[in-house]
Subunit: 330 residues, 2 copies
């Protein structure tokens, strides 16, 4: 299997996106984000996205030449219009501008509308934590989860991400979607002709199903049953309702070139821990980490991703021949 | 069963707390909060708490005469010291001061340290939503949940609450704790001598158990397995790590008069929806509600609580003889 350095992988992807009607600057943002996800082992947000992103840019479903713009309607708020481009240039704008606002105000919010797939949701918050901020991200995605008791999908799998600086080591990062399992697990079962466990999905009539095909036509179940749909509602309102973005049920797919732009949204909050908890705030974060890591078998979330990232930086990324050929064919 | 009006119930509880070494002003805050929870059908945060609160005030574990104080270390931040008093006076201070800050800044954060049981977590965010703000609350509670793979409890059941205004009707409110079920369910099974379902709790060795007694000595399982413990970690860091409050594992019980004050924390975020999403932001909230309520069998969270509240306002609260006698006996 070919092995590419991080820089080589980024260059290959950026060049492919430029061939697919994307500006070099935007292509570089997208390439960095996809390679970072791939390096962390988050393959669903990694190189597997290049072909569908390129098709969307070629079709104009995503505007590869869009330039995100930001307004400051109030001192603590950055209102970002991603202009139906990729999410990553808008997220980069937030990474550039939000830290200064959060440091000055103590707390800051960035609302991104007319956006697209935000990829590995942990990365934007991790970037803010590396600048000393505690950060939260809420994003909505195309419809997948029904309200509790209903059968039509109204909520996306709606990731929540969180990061907090830790003195002397990498930030702690939480990154989870609100579906019980990723849709890819159901796709994999369908391809193998295998049933899925009960509790993953409902059929189109809102009944539990173990049939992968029926599940793909129906809706995904959330983690934690009714509590999970309540969290999905919360994220839908935070990421789309109050940012002016499209709701899950209004958004076109992130995975094909059909229809109008998805127009989904992201809300990012950044907090200055010293303003909230005084000078000792971050030392307290280390104290909690010690309570967890002192237990046999317990660890902080995100440790596997960091280990994979180190390995990818040192040894490069293994990219299947077919995946590389698909990128070259763009 | 005796029936008390809301005002009568508040007066009975406030008088009992004053007899238990609490200032009239603080007693009034506590009484209002407990009666509001009881009226919403949230009995675990309602009148059942009066006796243990009173015992804690008498013992000095909670300072019934504490006056919360607030600092403004940065323009968007209210840093509140609950001074080891009840949480409700501190929450009332936040309800008074945070809206103006959030309206001016677009986003505001209140960090409460040296606090106590915050009761029905939906109420403080609902109060902010009634003033036109979108609000989030994160609170930690005494240790109940182990890190994934571990066996010692490090996280509380750590509620997350969220509220969003809806034009022309009551705010939508999400209020959930991160344990799969409330501890009261396990206590009830123990009292009946019944087993509990697998998936509710682990024994002291970190193994799944269906024995209620073993579960009470062990740890609670979170909703959503490993994702739930990641959320519990997030809340622990937001509510206690960066506010300067005690962690779950450092906090004494909310339910007895033993030991030092719990000293837990709450973080409340308030957002101005118009600043984030423009003038149409709240109309968009109604649009999502319509997508949910248009489905047979689906409803917004919190509807049952509102119905019970209306009933209690109209017909009063039924209070068991023994419960009323216990309040009189304080």
């Amino acid at each position: 299997m070919p092995v590419l350095t991080i820089a080589e992988a980024e260059a290959e992807i950026a060049a492919a996106l430029v061939r697919a009607n994307t500006s070099p600057e935007n292509a570089a943002h997208v390439a960095r984000a996809l390679v970072a996800a791939e390096a962390d082992g988050l393959k669903g947000h990694g190189l597997s996205r290049v072909a569908t992103y390129a098709a969307q840019a070629k079709a104009g479903k995503v505007d590869g030449h869009a330039t995100p713009t930001a307004a400051r309607p109030k001192p603590g708020v950055l209102a970002v219009d991603a202009a139906h481009g990729f999410a990553y240039p808008a997220l980069a704008l937030v990474a550039d501008e939000l830290p200064e606002i959060a440091q000055a105000q103590g707390v800051a919010a960035a609302a991104i509308r007319r956006s697209h797939h935000c990829g590995a949701a942990g990365h934007p918050v991790e970037a803010l934590a590396e600048k000393g901020l505690v950060a939260l991200l809420f994003a909505n995605t195309p419809a997948a989860i029904a309200p509790w008791g209903g059968k039509l999908p109204v909520f996306g799998t709606n990731p929540i991400a969180f990061a907090c600086p830790m003195p002397g080591r990498a930030p702690v990062v939480v990154d989870l979607s609100l579906s019980k399992v990723a849709r890819g697990n159901i796709l994999a079962a369908k391809q193998k002709g295998e049933p899925i466990p009960e509790g993953w999905a409902l059929d189109v009539d809102g009944n539990p199903t173990t049939d992968a095909e029926a599940a793909l036509e129906g809706t995904m179940l959330p983690l934690g049953d009714a509590k999970g749909t309540a969290l999905a509602l919360m994220v839908e309102l935070l990421a789309a309702g109050i940012t002016g973005a499209n709701y899950a049920a209004e958004a076109s797919s992130f995975l094909d070139a059909e229809g109008p732009p998805p127009g989904t949204g992201q809300l990012i909050l950044a907090l200055d821990p010293q303003a909230l908890g005084g000078e000792g705030a971050l030392a307290r974060v280390s104290a909690l980490a010690a309570m967890i890591e002192g237990q046999d078998g317990a660890r902080l979330p995100g440790m596997r991703r960091l280990a994979l990232r180190e390995k990818a930086r040192a040894e490069g990324l293994q990219v299947a021949d077919a995946a590389l050929a698909a990128i070259h064919a763009i």
